[in-house]
Symmetry: C2
Subunit: 184 residues, 2 copies
DNA sequence: TATCTCATGTAAGTGGTTACATGATTGC
DNA sequence: GCAATCATGTAACCACTTACATGAGATA
């Protein structure tokens, strides 16, 4: 139920076209949520149909026309209601755990390889997050930074701590497997 | 795409009714994946229709009849193919981060309250996981334990490490907010 | 008398992915 | 000449949730 409200937040902050929002999701907004362009356009269409946003078509020179969406009073109301409502928690559901569950079928070596791959992917993601942190947030106690920068930093910290935990788990689990040595 | 394969793993290990599997999901299997009974019955129906499992109706005294599912050769083949295929990674998409993103609209106090609630939920989940670890896996280097017990323990460790990271993040973020103090 | 367990499902809706589709302009 | 960027979408499918539905026997 959150994509709808992210769009309201984004459009509420600043009127945007679908494409603008697609770009936002590829940048900082991506720390908070992931969504593809098809989903975004479909959801914008629905919000428009329900009167939570409305669009004006803006013609451009040398570029395709674009639809610029603006939030309506009804949209603000919906957003405020959502912000006040209880936050949903996520379920687990990670495929790597299913492969662990199938460990007896996979065998020790194959499972080890899966975990190594997982470890490498999370190590790479952690490296990326740390690089971003170092580049954009070099002075952690910067009094000049706006509220929004601090909020982005909080999200980034979530990414870093999660990836660290994943990494630790994969390393621990590989070590456990090495002590076990079983065949499929 | 994993539920289908979890069902094949479970049924492959031991022929089961839908209800048996529902119970499994409420116990250890729940560490690996979450699914409701509706999803399970529907998916079993599809697997049956596609010939990956087949069922026999078993009448019972004083209880409703049950359908016991068995994996077919085609089912085994599908499962082996999936186990060999690359593991998918999950996207982020947690509502609490969206509320952080909307921090300026929520205001410092309200956001703080959300984070506190999140912290408490994760603290409780961590407590539960640790209790299970202490109860069922009191002797960590138990040579008597089967492979499956070790695999369950690996999954449980994933839960513990994740919850610890979450907890650390919420505490850090609350501390950050306390240094900021902004209004909606 | 009421709730829990056993045992099965349907129906409707939301959310998300994959693939397909178009077409001009800008930069290497 | 080829890829990327700008800008929009449709169609089909898969995954998951919420609500509704039935009915017998066991336990408190």
């Amino acid at each position: 139920m959150a994509l709808k409200h992210i769009l309201l937040i984004v459009i509420g902050r600043r009127p945007s076209s679908g494409y603008d929002i697609v770009k936002d999701f590829k940048e900082v907004l991506g720390f908070f949520w992931h969504a593809g362009h098809q989903q975004i356009y479909r959801e914008l269409g629905k919000l428009d149909a329900h009167g939570l946003v409305r669009h004006t078509t803006v013609p451009q020179d040398d570029r395709p026309d674009k639809k610029v969406y603006r939030i309506t009073d009804q949209g603000w109301e919906e957003l405020r209601a959502w912000l006040r409502s209880p936050t949903q928690i996520r379920t687990v559901n990670d495929e790597i755990l299913v492969k662990v569950y199938a460990g007896e079928l996979l065998g020790c070596e194959a499972l080890r390889r899966e975990l190594e791959q997982d470890r490498d992917r999370h190590a790479e993601q952690l490296r990326v997050y740390r690089e971003i942190e170092a580049t954009y947030f070099s002075t952690p106690t910067d009094k000049e930074a706006g509220i929004f920068d601090h909020l982005v930093r909080i999200a980034l910290r979530k990414g870093i701590l999660s990836e660290q935990a994943w990494l630790q788990w994969t390393e621990e689990s590989i070590a456990t497997l090495d002590r076990l040595e079983f065949r499929p």
